[in-house]
């Protein structure tokens, strides 16, 4: 089958390229537009210093071009939009995150050394003995010649033209035309005083101009100051130093931490970003610090566990074949209780020591939430689908209405639920109070908060599974059920042994996708409850009972030190990717088992 398709692809693909000249030209034009777009974007983005994104875009464009132009790859053309998007939206962010994880990219270290040097070079100061003037601009009508009327602090006035020494002038006397109250003339040396719009329009040019003696030129620093200002910060790339000219301090660039360091250990005002190797990952040990403290306990648990398994295995080997195991009570009650007794103590010990560590609480809740949300929404969705699978009046309307939650934008729905659950103004607690006299504290009790999150998630997620299951149910052949009925199966048997396994074949991979999605569900947790209620007695960062790994990462990365630390956040994201990736791999093994079920049926 596969070879047949490939043959078909080659035989139809190759001629397609040269089928009609018009088609070819149109195709090439389209490709040209795409490539130009990509190139422009890459040039513009690369010019802004983001080389990696530029390269990713070029790579994407290259893929598309090659696929279109190489006849052998012709069948891939339908894949090329998807491939391009994968490169840009998945691979590039992944590799970029990985890259950032090895840098100190954070507030105070947002730009490269050269960019920071350029930024600081803009700052100017007036060297000792220099004079600061207030200024009034003059210019000609063509806008190619400018002068400045300068007044120093003592009230001495000068007129300044480019490349000419300052010329002392007398307010009210020099120049011509009506004088303003400060004695500035309307005309001077053939230039008109610039006012209103002329002045505003000239400012961009004036900002870059220099007047007076070229040896110590006068420039405009601000609306109120002109003078022989010079750069405060001078970067010497050769010596790798930044000099504060005003204070006379030389800052040595320390490329291991991205700071310019003065001899007394102080830093220049702005740092720059540099690769810092594994430092961010070393900091994450804090994230896992719970583990390091519990190493000994964990080892104890491990050897007890192994011992218990060995002992249990021995007991089973010894007694397994004997009559005593035939007694229902022994098999079903005594042995499990014994095993429980053996395992319970070390397990409880371990949990006792691990549970106070927020990371474990967070991880436990993340897994529990992902599992429970998939389980609940799939169950409800399947239930609805089964009901709606029959024909009754209004079934289509009801089906459409039930899909509504799926169609409401997430954040809006979340905010509505947030209001409805509010214990002071919300309709749900109010109703509960009317009926039962009291209402749970949905936002302050950890258990009820989790219940609320699952409930809200159920509301958003069940229509998706309802749709899926409705479709999948159609595909199950009625003849199987007839056969089952002949064999004497009741409704429950049919559901449990036929409908569910067959459904899981189709829906299984989507269940896993849903699990992964909910594992990373940031919006619901942050939008509904912001990870609250907070856990009492935790050390930094503040963490809540309903924080999942995503929101916890967010708190970890963006609450420390008062600034946003993208490098550190990326390092944590990489670690989480490893966790989620491992889980996903395990799930795929599980799917394979479902597929086997499908093949057997």
């Amino acid at each position: 089958m596969r070879t047949a398709l490939a043959r078909a692809g080659v035989s139809t693909g190759a001629p397609a390229l040269s089928s009609s000249p018009v088609g070819l030209i149109l195709r090439l034009l389209a490709l040209a537009v795409i490539d130009v777009f990509a190139l422009l974007l890459a040039v513009s983005i690369g010019g802004d210093g983001n080389i990696f994104l530029a390269l990713a875009i070029v790579a994407t464009a290259l893929i598309v071009t090659v696929i279109t132009l190489v006849p052998g790859l012709w069948p891939l053309r339908w894949m090329s939009p998807a491939l391009a998007l994968i490169v840009l939206m998945a691979l590039y962010p992944m590799f970029y995150t990985l890259y950032v994880a090895f840098t100190n990219f954070s507030d105070g270290h947002r730009q490269s050394k050269v960019e920071v040097a350029e930024l600081l070079a803009q700052r100017t100061y007036l060297p000792e003995g220099g004079t600061s003037y207030t200024w009034t601009p003059f210019g000609n009508e063509a806008g190619d010649s400018y002068g400045l009327w300068l007044v120093d602090a003592e009230g001495n006035a000068f007129f300044a033209l480019p490349d000419q020494p300052l010329q002392p002038v007398t307010p009210g006397v020099s120049g011509s035309g009506p004088y303003d109250e400060a004695g500035i003339p309307a005309q001077m040396d053939g230039l008109n005083v610039l006012q209103g719009g002329e002045r505003f329009r000239a400012l961009t040019t004036l900002q870059t101009m220099q007047f007076g003696d070229p040896a110590s030129p006068v420039g405009i620093k601000s609306r109120n100051e002109a003078g022989a200002f010079v750069s405060k910060w001078v970067f010497d790339a050769g010596a790798n130093t930044l000099t504060d000219m005003e204070a006379g301090i030389v800052y040595q660039a320390d490329d291991s931490q991205g700071q310019f360091v003065a001899p007394d250990g102080t830093f220049a005002p702005v740092g720059y970003w540099v690769p810092i190797g594994l430092n961010n990952f070393a900091r994450i040990t804090g994230f896992f610090s719970g583990l390091s403290n519990f190493g000994p306990q964990f080892l104890t648990f491990l050897w007890r566990f192994v011992a218990a398994v060995v002992a249990g295995w021995g007991v089973y080997r010894f007694f397994g074949k004997t009559d005593i195991m035939e007694i229902w009570l022994v098999r079903r009650v005594v042995v499990p209780l014994l095993l429980l007794a053996v395992f319970a103590e070390p397990l409880l010990n371990l949990f006792d020591t691990l549970l106070p560590v927020p990371l474990f609480k967070v991880f436990g809740w993340t897994v529990a939430f992902a599992l429970l949300s998939v389980l609940t929404s799939f169950s409800l969705g399947l239930f609805m689908a089964l009901i709606l699978n029959r024909d009754f009046p209004g079934v289509r309307v009801i089906r459409s209405l039930l899909i509504v939650p799926y169609a409401i934008p997430g954040m809006i729905g979340i905010l509505i639920w947030r209001g409805m659950f509010n214990s002071n103004v919300g309709v749900i607690p109010a109703t509960l109070r009317d009926i039962f006299g009291s209402s749970p504290a949905f936002f302050n009790d950890p258990g009820w908060a989790k219940f609320m999150i699952l409930l809200v998630n159920l509301w958003f997620a069940y229509p998706y599974f309802m749709l899926l299951c409705s479709g999948a149910l159609q595909s199950i052949s009625a003849s199987i059920y007839e056969a089952a009925e002949v064999d004497g199966a009741n409704t429950w048997h049919k559901f449990w042994n036929l409908t569910l396994p067959l459904l899981l074949v189709a829906v299984g991979p989507l269940l896993i996708a849903s699990f992964t999605f909910n594992f990373n569900n940031f919006l619901l947790i942050e939008g509904l409850i912001e990870g609250g209620p907070p856990i009492a007695g935790t050390v930094a960062p503040p963490v809540g009972h309903t924080d999942n790994l995503m929101t916890y990462t967010y708190r970890f990365a963006f609450s420390a030190g008062g600034t946003r630390d993208f490098g550190y956040a990326s390092a944590i994201a990489v670690m989480i990717f490893l966790i989620v990736g491992t889980l996903t791999l395990l799930q795929f093994r599980l799917t394979r088992r479902w597929e086997e079920v499908g093949e057997n049926v």
């Binding site: 030209i25 100051e225 927020p358 930094a540 008062g562 600034t563």
Partner: protein
């Protein structure tokens, strides 16, 4: 055919690469302003007028407040940033750290601005923005329920009590559950503060006052309000306002931004100064809104002229006020407004403190608000809540984010000594080295650490909180002699420190003997017969080989006990000093009779003495 295609492709590419950027460049105005939704509406007609009058193109882009702050350092270096942004004064620390804004010289215009507003925008001695509004919260009351403004927070509590107990209104004073901004005036009235000041009068991030005695006192006031049921959980900004506007809450703290909705609701209201506390008047945070100039702007001079020569005039400033009625920072507009409400806000703000603009402030809000929530939900008492919060904040500011619990790190006990280099510390005698940190036992409060040490001779002490200020040596003496540890072979050494007796020891220099028995649960152990519960740890501070432990908390009854070494049953001694021997019975005839357990290490005999 194919070659022909390539030629077309190349030609089209080249024309467009050359042509399109040139065309795109024309789109940029002379000045680009980033403003949020409210201010964008006010600014757009103003800049249209400016453009028409002066022939300079100005565009206002609507960007959310949070995005302005976050995106400036991203878009700026890329050449796509604005020339001017609308900003809150407390962003300055972060923006300066990134080099994203430039100082501004107001020159003669400075006299037209409220000096308090200018000081808000001053950071490290330089002015970084032109303010247009200053704002602070004030105390709102419903005059039908509360005719006279309360002068102190105790009065607020008394009025609340009266209103709630008489059923006049559902709530008296109502505060948001997790919002430290509105809580600050209360904390401050009791003497609490966020950051202390350094010698230059700048906020000092090293001095966190969230757990200062005044802050604790305020926390206790909050706790008393919560315990009496006057404050409830789950109150956010909207709930607080809904209750006040519906007449169900008599008093709240809120700001001038809420005036439109309160006026619209028709509820009677009066605005007054914030009630005082033991430490003086309640000081609100003063915040400022203003314009800043981007350091990435190629048109900084034009931007400055736009602000100083155009915006800093009565009409534009009045328009800004009309769109967003916060008390103007521009004095001519402020003086022209005869609005008693704004005057009341201004008066409440006279004693205010500038809201810190140092970057460390963003480490404060979360933990601080949580402390408020813990107190109101009564999950923690006021003192614990704010003490924990301060510890979190200090850790965050120092970048110590460990994600551990306070029971592990609330107090820090380290083992400085010559063991440290062997354990990977950068040097010896470093109380702060994490590698030789001890861990407190949850059940018994005894600090322990176990390390594999190579054979050799070592010395060590115990030091608290990572400094030498409090340390213990030989015999548990404060500042005592170093403890010598001689190891003949590589050994896993267990170190122990009793925070009550201060005895420091290890399992090489002395035996670790406990007295597990049927009485241990009464001591507070998780169960009886627990050799690892060191509440029944027998100690030998004087080193004479007699280990003892006394208690007087046992209820009358018959008990049994044994002696166990090294916190396990592996080696234990019973009656007559016999290894693995019979339990030793003893009887406590009256509650709280003193009981002393002694273990003689030469005979392994455990004796129990009951009674004086």
């Amino acid at each position: 055919m194919k070659r022909f295609g390539f030629v077309i492709l190349l030609a089209v590419c080249l024309t467009m690469v050359v042509g399109v950027p040139a065309a795109a460049q024309d789109g940029r105005p002379d000045l680009l302003i980033w403003a949020d939704n409210t201010r964008e509406k006010a600014l757009t007609p103003l800049v249209e007028q400016f453009s028409a009058d002066f022939g300079v193109t100005v565009r206002v882009d609507e960007i959310g407040m949070g995005d302005i702050r976050a995106n400036l350092p991203v878009a700026g270096p890329a050449g796509e940033g604005p020339d001017i942004i609308i900003a809150a004064h407390d962003w300055i620390g972060e923006l300066v750290l990134n080099g994203s804004v430039v100082p501004l010289n107001l020159g003669d215009k400075a006299a037209e601005f409220n000096p308090a507003a200018l000081s808000l925008f001053t950071y490290n001695g330089e002015l970084y923005g032109m303010p247009y509004a200053v704002e602070n919260v004030a105390f709102f009351r419903n005059p039908e329920l509360v005719p006279d403004a309360p002068a102190t927070w105790d009065e607020v509590k008394a009025i609340t009590e009266e209103l709630v107990s008489s059923g006049t209104s559902e709530f008296g004073y109502l505060i948001q559950t997790n919002d430290a901004y509105h809580y600050f005036p209360i904390m401050n009235a009791f003497g609490g503060y966020v950051f202390g000041l350094d010698e230059n009068g700048n906020y000092n991030p090293e001095d966190v006052g969230i757990d200062s005695p005044g802050a604790i006192a305020a926390g206790q006031w909050l706790q008393s309000m919560a315990e009496a049921g006057y404050l409830v959980a789950d109150v956010n900004y909207d709930v607080m306002h809904a209750k006040f506007e519906g007449g169900d809450a008599a008093m709240i703290i809120t700001g001038p931004w809420a005036l439109p909705r309160i006026r619209q609701s028709g509820v009677p209201y009066a605005i007054s100064d914030l009630p005082a506390g033991p430490a003086g008047p309640g000081k609100p945070f003063i915040g400022g809104q203003g314009f800043m100039i981007s350091a990435y702007s190629p048109n900084q001079l034009l931007a400055e002229a736009f602000l100083l020569d155009f915006m800093a005039n009565t009409e534009p400033m009045q328009a800004m006020y009309d769109a967003d009625p916060r008390p103007p920072a521009y004095l001519p507009v402020l003086e022209s407004l005869a609005d008693p409400d704004l005057e009341a806000f201004r008066h409440a703000g006279l004693v205010g403190e500038p809201q810190p603009s140092i970057p460390q402030m963003s480490s404060v809000w979360g933990a601080w608000g949580n402390a408020q929530q813990f107190t109101i939900t009564q999950e923690l008492d006021g003192e614990t809540a704010f003490t924990d919060a301060a510890a979190q904040i200090r850790d965050l500011i120092a970048g110590r984010v460990t994600g551990a619990t306070t029971s592990e790190t609330g107090e820090y006990v380290g083992l400085p000594g010559t063991i440290q280099e062997a354990l990977g510390c950068p040097g010896n005698w470093q109380p702060e080295c994490e590698n030789t940190r001890m861990i407190v036992g949850e059940d018994d409060g005894v600090w322990q650490a176990a390390f594999d040490l190579p054979a050799g001779s070592y010395e060590y002490k115990v030091a608290l909180n990572g400094t030498w200020d409090v340390n213990y040596g030989m015999g548990g003496e404060a500042g005592g002699a170093n403890i010598v540890l001689n190891l003949d072979a590589d050994t896993n050494v267990v170190f122990l420190f009793d925070p009550i007796s201060h005895w420091v020891t290890d399992n090489v220099n002395s035996l670790i003997v406990s007295a597990p028995g049927s009485y241990q649960a009464a001591l507070g152990c998780p169960g009886d017969w627990a050799p690892d519960c060191l509440l029944s740890w027998m100690q030998d501070a004087d080193g004479d080989g007699i280990y003892s432990f006394s208690t007087d908390v046992l209820p009358a009854g018959d008990y049994e006990v044994k002696a166990a070494l090294n916190q396990s049953w592996d080696v234990n001694y019973g009656a007559d000093g016999e290894a693995g021997g019979a339990n030793i019975p003893f009887t406590v005839s009256a509650d709280n009779e003193p009981v002393t357990f002694s273990f003689d290490s030469s005979t392994n005999l455990l004796t129990v003495a009951v009674g004086g």
